[in-house]
């Protein structure tokens, strides 16, 4: 089964916090290109990374990622 993209609000949330992609990448401990792929909806993060994103934005995972888009 091909991996389905998962829509997310990462770009909007990052803009709300006025963070650059590099700053968010440093907060999450990933490369900037990982943020690029996540924001483009081309890559669905692992559960641990999704939880780290949730902690950084202080929002539940389901408010950041659209579970319906993966069905």
């Amino acid at each position: 089964m091909p991996s389905l993209p998962v829509k997310n609000r990462l770009k909007v949330l990052r803009a709300e916090h006025d963070w650059s992609q590099a700053e968010l990448a440093d907060q999450l401990g990933v490369a900037r290109q990982t943020i690029v792929a996540l924001e483009a909806g081309k890559y669905a993060p692992s559960l641990p990374l999704a939880f780290r994103i949730s902690r950084v934005f202080s929002k539940p995972v389901e408010e950041i990622f659209d579970a319906d888009s993966a069905e």
């Binding site: 006025d18 963070w19 700053e23 401990g29 490369a31 290109q33 990982t34 792929a37 081309k42 890559y43």
Partner: protein, 140 residues
């Protein structure tokens, strides 16, 4: 003024892993060049025979072999997306290399001259580079 001031995170582990990999690779390549030129010089000036000649011919492989654990460490320490891209591109390169080497093996059976094993290495590296570019573009 930023809406939310970021805490100072520790050094990004992915960035640190990339730095360690680049330094390790540069040192291994420098050691390779030193051993390579030392080996060539020794063979030209002393023309050793027998077992010693084989040992000298294989000596440059020692620093090259170090690249394997350096690469494996980077793969384990880097982030999950980089691991995904590396895995995908290596899988494609392995498939292309297996297909092309098998194709030429059949052509050898039909009468074409045998090729150097270097061709397999070259095809693997070239196909890995092309696959890596293709995979990177797919995720942008």
């Amino acid at each position: 003024m930023k809406q939310t001031q970021l805490p100072h995170p520790p050094l990004n582990p992915t960035v640190a892993a990339t730095r360690r990999y680049n330094v390790g690779l540069a040192l291994a390549m420098a050691a390779y060049l030193v051993v390579l030129f030392a080996t060539i010089w020794t063979i030209r000036h002393y023309d050793p025979q027998g077992f010693l000649r084989f040992v000298l011919a294989l000596a440059p492989l020692v620093p090259i072999a170090l690249i394997v654990p350096i690469g494996v460490r980077y793969f384990r320490e880097t982030d999950e997306f980089e691991r995904r891209m590396t895995t995908e591109s290596l899988a494609i390169a392995a498939g292309v290399t297996a297909l092309l080497s098998a194709t030429y093996a059949f052509l050898e059976n039909a009468g074409l001259p045998p090729l150097s094993a270097w061709w397999t290495w070259t095809v693997l590296m070239l196909s890995w580079a092309v696959a890596r570019m293709t995979v990177c573009r797919r995720y942008r």
